[in-house]
């Protein structure tokens, strides 16, 4: 049984008189523990794919089954619930809450789960320790380096124990040395059987993944195992 399955999924945008078909009948299955890169040039439908996989957006047609639940027609609050419990987001620009400390940032998704305060703090602290930031709990985002901020974001994504870690160009704003560190962290998480999907246009990043899905004009142009690692 796949962790997630996409069946004949399409997404259309109305652009004036024209209909723009960002995704055009995509079929895709992702297994538990997969380490997948979704690549493609800009305009290939990567971002749309990411938004739908992350339950931020709904497809125009087709089905999206996540953990045996059809999420393609859920209402905004149900989607929020799915995002909260099933998906951990990692963004290119980190997207931390600027006025909250590292700990408070990681605690935030647990608040939406109605966890008691002590439990939240315990789990958030654990998650931050897991990404190597146990000593920086009380720092504000602007007191942290780019790599550290991304680690906070990863901790925030992991703290809810999501089914999927969904990363959007996670190293796009980082220098090469930090990029290597962050990718090593992803590799480690994969080794712990975390399902990871990375949306990227960089071949270097994609090469870390075990499976590479290349989109072109809203269709899957290529879906292959990473031979170097296999």
């Amino acid at each position: 049984m796949s962790l997630l399955r996409i069946e004949n999924l399409s997404k259309e945008y109305q652009m004036g008189d024209n209909v723009l078909r960002a995704l055009d009948g995509v079929n895709l299955g992702i297994e538990r523990g997969d380490y997948v890169a979704i690549t493609g040039t800009s305009g290939s439908g990567k971002s749309t794919m990411l938004n739908i996989l992350g339950c931020l957006d709904r497809p125009t047609s087709g089905r999206y089954i996540l953990n045996q639940k059809d999420v393609s027609q859920m209402d905004p609050d149900e989607l929020a619930e799915i995002r909260n419990r099933e998906i951990g987001f990692i963004f290119q620009s980190f997207n931390l809450l600027p006025r909250a400390t590292a700990l408070d940032n990681v605690v935030q998704p647990l608040i939406y789960q109605h966890l008691p305060r002590a439990e939240r703090i315990r789990r958030a602290t654990e998650a931050l320790q897991h990404v190597g930031l146990g000593a920086r709990l009380d720092h504000l985002p602007n007191q942290l380096s780019g790599g550290q901020r991304q680690r906070v974001a990863i901790a925030r994504a992991l703290v809810t124990k999501p089914s999927i870690l969904l990363a959007d160009e996670p190293t796009g704003n980082l220098d090469s040395r930090t990029t290597i560190e962050i990718m090593r962290l992803f590799d480690d998480l994969h080794a712990e059987h975390q399902t990871i999907i990375i949306v990227t246009h960089e071949a270097e990043i994609a090469s870390h993944c075990h499976r590479i899905v290349r989109l072109e004009d809203g269709r899957v142009a290529e879906d292959r195992r990473n031979r170097e690692l296999a």
Partner: protein, 407 residues
């Protein structure tokens, strides 16, 4: 679960208010000023009302005051309205009255003692005036009936008069010159201090008949008459009788207006309270407008704040915030802002009330009634809710993708 969301929203609203300390203060300034204005006004007026009621309590509920009354137009036509000594004699025959005191507020007159000269207000009345004016004796006695009947040349004075005439501590049995007459001081009243900046110890009271006999032209005399009733039930009957007698005596045709006023002390208090009530009402209206303006200010800043935090809202939505959780957070932020503003305004307003009543000599102490406190809090909360709901709804309904992309 909702309770949990409410508590968490409160927590994050507090954090946000603290994070923007100065801006939060400016935002809520409108509410602060509005509530401070309400409380200051209400506390001063309530203090006034309180003390006026206390003042009139001395008159007793069973008393009636008869005074001349003239409209401005009639005065311009040269028509004079007055209550004369013959009116007083007429009214003393009215059935149902227990006591009747004439009060002649003679104009100022000069008092002399030794080489000291002092001008003061001279009132002519009888022994029953003691209750009306609430004059209590420190030395000597008040006027008696016999003083009036025999037109004794005696005078009761207040402390200010004694001081200014350099009379001894106990001035009883000293002689002072009132106008052209020598009069014996028979009593010194206890000190009362000031009310509304008016010295209450600056007076001299002589017997009514003495006053009449020394007042030059009796026809010009205008006086007031105070009646007390034996039985409160007769209030209306006595008022009607007095009105009828006076209309007859003054030759007032049916259809013409009275040239006098017959009012019970209760009516008098009511009149004062009515005036104060309408002042409160008008002030309330002005203050309501200022609170409205304050509310619009809050809505404005909250809308700015939503726009400014669009990205944060997007982040929160991406990590699983539901619409009502975002809604609550912003709603509580404006609610808390307003309540904090209300609290600060309340303190400032009461402070202003106290300061104002302390600055005016012998002005009654400011009193803040509970209803004003509750009302301003309720109003603040309502302003917070009403003007917070639109920004909060706007925040809650943001599309997560658009919000995340917002820079």
């Amino acid at each position: 679960m909702l309770l949990f969301d409410i508590l968490e929203s409160l927590r994050s609203a507090l954090r946000s208010i603290r994070a923007h300390g100065f801006r939060s203060f400016l935002t809520t300034l409108g509410i602060i000023i509005g509530v401070a204005a309400v409380i200051a006004t209400v506390s001063i007026i309530q203090g006034l009302q309180f003390s006026i009621n206390e003042q009139f309590q001395g008159l007793g509920t069973n008393s009636i005051i008869v005074q001349s009354f003239n409209t401005f137009e009639r005065r311009l036509q040269g028509i004079v309205a007055r209550i004369s000594p013959s009116d007083f004699e007429l009214l003393s025959r009215v059935e149902g009255i227990a006591t009747i005191s004439p009060i002649i507020g003679g104009g100022g007159s000069q008092l002399r003692y030794g080489s000291q000269v002092y001008a003061t207000q001279i009132t002519g009345s009888t022994y029953s005036y003691q209750d009306v004016a609430q004059v209590y004796m420190k030395y000597g006695r008040f006027l008696s009936d016999a003083d009036d009947i025999t037109r004794r040349r005696v005078v009761v004075i207040g402390e200010t008069v004694r001081e200014n005439l350099n009379l001894p501590e106990n001035p009883v049995d000293e002689y002072v010159r009132v106008g052209d007459e020598w009069m014996k001081v028979i009593g010194l009243a206890e000190e009362k201090g000031q009310l509304f900046g008016q010295n209450q110890d600056n007076f001299a009271i002589i017997p009514y008949s003495t006053m009449r006999s020394i007042a030059g032209n009796q026809n010009e005399l205008d006086m007031a008459i105070q009646l007390t009733l034996g039985n409160l039930d007769q209030m209306e009957a006595v008022q009607d009788q007095v009105t009828a007698l006076l209309r007859n005596a003054h030759d007032i045709e049916p259809g013409e207006d009275d040239d006098f006023q017959v009012r019970s002390s209760e009516q008098l208090t009511d009149t004062f309270n009515n005036i104060l009530g309408s002042v409160t009402f008008v002030m309330g209206g002005i203050v309501g407008i200022s609170l409205l303006v304050g509310g619009i200010g809050i809505m404005n800043i909250m809308l700015v704040s939503v726009t400014e935090r669009t990205k944060e809202i997007g982040i929160c939505k991406a990590i699983g915030a539901k619409r009502h959780q975002i809604l609550l957070q912003f709603l509580f932020e404006s609610l808390l802002l307003c309540l904090l503003g209300g609290l600060i305004g309340l303190t400032i307003g009461y402070g202003i009330g106290l300061a104002a009543s302390a600055a005016i000599p012998d002005f009654p102490r400011a009193v803040v009634p509970l209803w004003a406190v509750l009302l301003s809090f309720l109003f603040s909360a309502m302003v917070g809710l009403v003007f917070g709901i639109m920004p909060a709804a706007k925040a809650a309904n943001l599309d997560p993708i658009d919000a995340l992309r917002y820079e």
